[in-house]
Symmetry: C2
Subunit: 572 residues, 2 copies
């Protein structure tokens, strides 16, 4: 199509509220428009990109025997009540009532709808395994949308659901899907995506993986071992601590510590390291504000996901009031009132000579030995893994922490949904059983933004050929020159007739404007027809990433361009 | 794919709650599943059909210079407040609040979102005309979903919005879109769709057309002239009445009419025809229950759409209480309290000697002459056109009323949205102007159901080749016979390799089950491989509509089938 007719404005200035490049470039390039917090409309270039991504995903899902279906966006609350998620999911799930006051939800994921669709079909073992998938709009009322398409409230997602007779069969299919995901990332131009162990969160189930594009702008922290193959989301990464008790346990003594509050101040006051302090981190249960106190080694932080998973309910950082009985800044495990849920992190196991709060204003203890002073306690893993920490797989202190954007996830769900929604089948011996499920998601818009994030320069995106909005961008520099116009017109015509997707800029603007617009559209191949080139009977072919730059005789231009389009991915 | 693996159940029994055939067949054939009132999930066969319909629509929209975009499903209320529709639309518009208590709506149409997307882009006259479209899920909280996919609450729709500098330019584009719609209906296999003048309803604007598939199960009534080209939705069709006054106006007299209530009873009592009676039809305004009384000739009915359009507010049939001052069954225009909005239909113009209610219990008047007894009143067209009525275009009494399903609509919107949402452009002389809009909708699911409604027999749908879920259905009758299995397998393989979409039934079921399943899937070409055919070294090729039935030597079968698929539409 002609660039002159392309709807949407392109501009130079980086919008003020863009924290990340892909967001800025996709606004600057006329890809999308803000409608509300976390809600965007797409212009044609982005729509063309997402259509291509969807097609690639569709091909890969079909290749692993997926059957495309469609679930509703709007679902009756009753469906989510069956699974229990109507109650267990918080504000992210939009709830509303229809004209007859019946409660409904907006789909943020479709496990319930998938079970509802196949519950009758799957009554005999002979139908298994099978997988259904859809590509559809979803809405998740995120508290903090950010980064343009990286974290939105409304998004298009491919979500797939598989059903199996055995855990082994699920695992086999899980591997096939895992490989399909790798092919998807490779085909859309981000083969560098890695998979990491992940926390299953509200989906339920045990084993799950996230696919991560490592990038400083990512909102996830990934623990990667430099030495072995270990890779995990920090939310799922076990924090391994090897403590060694001092030979002698000093006696416990209460010390007046006026104006001493933080771990740093305490350690400086007692002249000990943070590893020798026992820190209190306090939360409250969302439902009734009951207090939960986690004791953890002073140098570590609590991973709230691990804590929430252990507790089985939602929590928030505590508000410590005068009436609650806790002395903010002076909370310790010794002689603590038993009104609270008290938990101990594994980092406190096998330690002694710790400092901790005295549960009295302006007093701390030294010489705490938990086994001696408090007795047998259970230790659990609540701590965030540290950069330089011990790898849970190989045991070496070789963990590094990187940032990543999650561009897909796969879950082994087990029977959480089939049991709660009473989906059963008869096995070969006539026994009633619950099928085992897996689910597999990819957000389309976030994928487009991630490709842009991984492939851009300061002037615009560098779209891979496979998902670029167009394959070739023709710039007719000085289109008022009849020769230029005729030559560019016929090249445009011929390429289109050969099935090449062309955006054609024949506007009466200078080359600077033309090229900066072309940079923003990020089309992989650019063909420049100009008076200067025509003097040599050539056109110029350059790639957006500058790896190709050639003059091609006009006679051969069309064939050359078609060849470059067809073999672009291989060339790169 | 193999039919054995196709998810979804097929069954013989017509479900009890299906009023129309397409609904019953699409449930019986495993096309869709009920989720909630007016909300369905789609299985793979329907998803394949709708994908093909969408692709055809997309091609036709691109061909008239449409640019595909995407608007959000969830929109901030503020956008709909700008246009005024947040208030003016009733319960069909779903409203809810997000986690921060901000009001949102679910998109049922996207005029507001379209204006928001292009408001800045369209600031210069040089950008016009342009059209954007999307294919997307919508939600409309219908009071009475019915007929499966014919009237649902959640649906996928192609909606397009065009922007113009002048009414002439809009009309020119409107014609192009009109023709694109005709091509769409033709390509998907219902070329018999007609266009009719329609009421613009809540969309605003003046000229609009609906595309109608005439079918007894349609919920719209269409007035069609047998003699000229006039075609209009009954809601938009002008009711033309030619009255002739009696030479002598009798005097007005009040008559005791005990137990006389209905028009029939009155006319029988006075021994006059219905045309000589003046009927009262009473409504109330939705907002405050104020009464509106429409007087109309006794043989006619009020068209509520015309009345609502005239009034400019929503109404409902009145509840006549003891306190309201109206005498139910005895309401007439003479000596009626002036507490009510009183309207006269044009059918009462140029009449005399009418009977009417006396506004006193058990009394009627005879000899009413409105001009004489009431004075000058305004007459408006509120009546439903009748079968056998006068054609508003050619003036002959040649109107017939047919039923139809609306399968698309196009509207000339004028400046309703651009004005209310303050979208302006600078014209060539530097004047600020409002662009003129058109909008163009097609519901995908309803289209699929309509094609089924127009093309089915008692055994299943007869899908046109262009949108059929598969092109060829191979039945391997007695697949336990090695020769049958090998022959069918290799035909399946070869056809798929040639790009033919094949569903392959090699189940160990009898031919009856196989063929009835094939009938339900409605694939246009069926290839039967059976021991009997193989004896003649043939396979059987039959079309679902029985117009083709041949034995083809195996050597030539593949080529013959490919040829039939390619030329099927032309052949038919």
């Amino acid at each position: 199509m002609k660039l002159e007719k392309l709807i949407g404005d392109r501009f130079k200035e980086r919008p003020a509220d863009c924290a990340i490049d892909s967001h800025a470039l996709m606004l600057r390039g006329g890809y999308m428009k803000y409608v509300a917090n976390g809600i965007y409309s797409s212009y044609t270039p982005l729509k063309r990109i997402t259509r291509k991504i969807e097609q690639i995903i569709k091909e890969e899902m079909d290749a692993i025997d997926g059957q495309e279906v469609q679930f509703p966006v709007v679902m009756p609350a009753s469906l989510w009540q069956e699974s229990g998620r109507y109650e267990s999911i918080g504000n992210e799930l939009v709830r509303f009532t229809d004209r007859n006051k019946n409660p409904f939800v907006l789909g943020m994921t479709h496990e319930e709808a998938a079970v509802q669709l196949v519950r009758e079909y799957g009554q005999s073992y002979s139908k298994y395994p099978f997988m259904v998938y859809q590509i559809q709009t979803k809405f998740r009322d995120e508290a903090r949308p950010r980064g343009g398409l990286i974290r939105v409230r409304e998004f298009t997602m491919k979500d797939a659901y598989s059903f199996h007779l055995s855990q082994e069969d699920l695992e086999e299919f899980y591997k096939r899907c895992y490989k399909a995901y790798e092919r998807i990332y490779s085909r859309i131009g981000i083969p560098e995506v890695i998979s990491v162990d992940s926390d299953s969160g509200m989906m339920g189930g045990s084993i799950s993986h996230e696919f991560m594009l490592l990038t400083p702008i990512g909102e996830d922290s990934i623990a990667i071992c430099r030495d072995c193959n270990y890779k995990a989301n920090m939310e799922a990464a076990e924090c391994v601590i090897h403590n060694k008790r001092d030979a002698i346990s000093n006696s416990l003594s209460l010390v007046h510590t006026p104006n001493i509050h933080t771990i740093e101040e305490i350690c400086s006051f007692f002249q000990t390291s943070k590893e020798k302090s026992c820190k209190a981190v306090v939360y409250q249960r969302n439902s009734d504000d009951a207090y939960i106190i986690v004791f953890i080694r002073g140098d570590l932080d609590v991973n709230e996901t691990k804590l929430t998973n252990y507790l089985g309910f939602d929590i928030h950082p505590a508000l410590i009031t005068d009436k609650c009985g806790l002395n903010a800044g002076y909370i310790g495990p010794y002689k603590l009132d038993d009104n609270y849920v008290v938990l101990f992190d594994r980092s406190l196991e096998n330690t002694n000579n710790l400092s901790c709060g005295g549960n009295i204003s302006e007093y701390h203890y030294t010489g705490l030995d938990i086994e001696r002073d408090i007795g047998q306690v259970e230790y659990h893993d609540f701590a965030k893994i540290l950069d330089g920490g011990v790898c849970p797989l190989c045991g070496k202190p070789t963990i590094t922490i990187s940032r990543g954007v999650e561009v897909g996830n796969i879950f082994q769900l087990g029977t959480k949904y089939t049991k709660s929604m009473n989906m059963t089948y008869l096995d070969q011996d006539g026994n009633i059983k619950y099928p085992i499920m897996g689910c597999y998601g990819i957000g389309i818009g976030r994928l487009a933004a991630s490709v842009c994030e991984a492939n851009h320069d300061e002037f615009g995106p560098l779209w891979p050929m496979s998902i670029a909005p167009w394959q070739v961008h023709i710039c007719a520099v000085r289109a008022d020159n009849t020769d230029v116009k005729n030559c560019a017109d016929s090249l445009y015509e011929e390429l289109q007739n050969s099935g090449v997707e062309v955006i054609y800029d024949d506007r009466a603007v200078n080359a600077g404007v033309m090229f900066s617009d072309a940079d923003l559209l990020g089309v992989p191949l650019r063909v420049i027809v100009s008076p200067r080139n025509l003097k040599e009977n050539c056109c110029e072919i350059v790639s957006r990433d500058k790896s190709i730059s050639m003059k091609e005789p006009l006679n051969f231009a069309k064939a050359k361009i078609i060849d470059l389009v067809a073999n672009y991915q291989k060339v790169k």
